[in-house]
């Protein structure tokens, strides 16, 4: 390169001026500062406060909380509400498995046979998100209610006994969870299956794999990252969910989210609520940590 020509060129001087000095070095920090501060003050700091609050002791009579550095609240709350934790774990796990089973074939179909209408089908998968979460759940309450048309029809046909009901049962809660979080499962599965190289599948058939083998030994292993992402994005929100249980469930199947919400907003027992939240977060962190170890944190970008 001829240096004398380049230094004569006005643009090269400009470029040098901008690419050197403090401005360039500080640029990444300046760009990330506003968002970073926002997340630090409103996401990280509150989580720390939550931890600290779980060490306080609150008086049930006055609602006043005093810092006592007592670790006793955590085991006490877990002891009191372990049943609700177990219920939440079971409901979330069942709903997640149902969602995986329901959405795998449709994700596979859209990825392999969607053709030019892929985007249309993806929007159809996302359709529940265009209606408010609360309204969706309320509509299911109406549909499943005792005088809703489904149960009325079934009773008229004598397919179910007269006292049969769905609302209030665990089935209703699990069905609500499965419906509300289905898109969170279907989309990551679609992304993972879409990426599978067809030639690998063709190679499997060339090597005399039958359909079952091709599925179990090619498609399923290659869509594993999507299954993990789907699990993370479905199980954790379902585990902490309380709207479905509050609207569709009954007194016998209270989930831990309801207890936490009541601790904070009804009983003003901040120490108790904070303790339960810390436990809930710890359980979620196990899943989050596993995902990060297996797939790396940046892969979540691809599944949203």
């Amino acid at each position: 390169m001829d240096e004398s020509v380049l230094t004569d060129h006005p643009g090269s001087v400009e470029k040098q001026r901008h690419s050197s000095g403090w401005g360039k070095k500080l640029a990444p920090y300046l760009l990330s500062l506003p968002a970073g501060v926002w997340l630090l003050l409103l996401f990280i700091v509150p989580l720390c406060i939550l931890l600290i609050q779980s060490l306080e002791t609150c008086s049930p009579a006055t609602g006043q909380c005093v810092m006592t550095w007592s670790w006793g609240e955590l085991p006490r709350q877990v002891n009191l509400y372990h049943q609700q934790f177990i219920t939440s774990l079971i409901f979330a796990a069942i709903a997640t498995v149902i969602d995986l089973v329901i959405s795998f074939p449709i994700a596979y179909w859209i990825a392999f046979y969607g053709g030019r209408r892929k985007n249309f089908f993806l929007i159809m998968l996302l359709v529940p998100f265009f209606v408010s979460f609360i309204i969706r759940t309320i509509v299911w309450e109406f549909i499943l209610s005792n005088n809703g048309f489904i149960l009325t029809f079934l009773r008229h046909q004598h397919l179910v006994p007269a006292g049969f009901h769905v609302l209030g049962t665990s089935y209703a809660v699990i069905a609500g969870l499965a419906y509300n979080y289905l898109p969170f499962t279907a989309l990551p599965l679609y992304v993972a299956i879409e990426r599978i190289d067809r030639r690998v599948l063709d190679a499997a058939y060339d090597l005399y794999a039958n359909r079952r083998e091709a599925f179990l030994r090619v498609i399923l292993p290659l869509s594993m990252p999507g299954i993990f992402a789907a699990f993370l994005l479905t199980f954790i929100p379902a585990f902490g969910d309380y709207v479905n249980q509050e609207i569709l469930g009954g007194t016998g199947n209270t989930m831990i989210g309801t207890v936490i919400q009541n601790s904070f907003l009804v009983n003003f027992d901040y120490a108790g609520g904070a303790s339960l939240s810390v436990v809930l977060l710890a359980v979620a962190l196990v899943g989050i940590w596993l995902y990060a170890r297996l797939l790396g944190t940046s892969t979540i970008n691809e599944y949203l």
């Binding site: 968002a35 089908f121 359909r211 899943g287 944190t297």
Partner: protein, 284 residues
Amino acid sequence: MSIETTPDVVAKTPRERSFGRRRKIGRFALPTYSWLVIAYLVFPIAIMIVYSFNRIIGGLQLVSFSWNGFTTLWYQQWSNVPGLTAAFWLSIRLALVSTVIATVLGTFLAIALVRYRSNKFRGKVAVEQILFLNIAAPEIVMGASLLGLFVTLNIGRGFVTLVLAHVMFSIAYVTVTVRARLAGFDRSLEEAAYDLGANPLATFRLVTLPLIMPGVLAGALMAFALSIDDFVTSNFVSGSSDPFPVWVYGATRVGIPPQVFVFGTFIFMVGIGFAFMSIVLSRK
């Protein structure tokens, strides 16, 4: 489907045989099943829209499951429930404000994450982990912890705390969305602008921003959708000013006025309209 040309053989290769079977499944069983799943996803929405046109007999104007005939009365009287209308406008204002803030902050952060490697941007890994944690953490924990913060600092709950919270949970989604679109960005275009004498601000405004605009808009839509639908966090930090989902949730205890379905239908139509518009635009 295959790239290489198959040599002339009389017998069918195993792939061809299985391909026939695969096509059969692709042609009939899978599409039928998939349309059934789509029908299941659409079903409650269809019910909501249909029952927003249901006549109501009796004194209390609350949604019931008996079909009493078609009426557009609730669309004419869409603003007749004072608390609901106020909650709806609050949600719109909240979504607009938090979307603007979250989109600006999230876009800047995405640019920093795409442009600079961790040797030039110390703390990049930590920022990425915080974003991941923010997306994956259970919402009830985030809501509860924000309540703890506001109570500890003695900050009165209302519109401001709602904006603070909504921006907080939107930033990560905006960053992730914008970042995905930035990945294929051609930086030589910016260098060309510098070479032609543009300053950094002019380069950003005239070159960078127009190029990343589709990603920024996608991020903004995401933030808007998240904000307008948020219940869990809002319920913790709203105080007495209820956004739309919080108001509807509160109303479930006494009964739902039919206008809720009217608003729901309206939000659905606008959302689906935007979604299909984005398909049409991306085809160009």
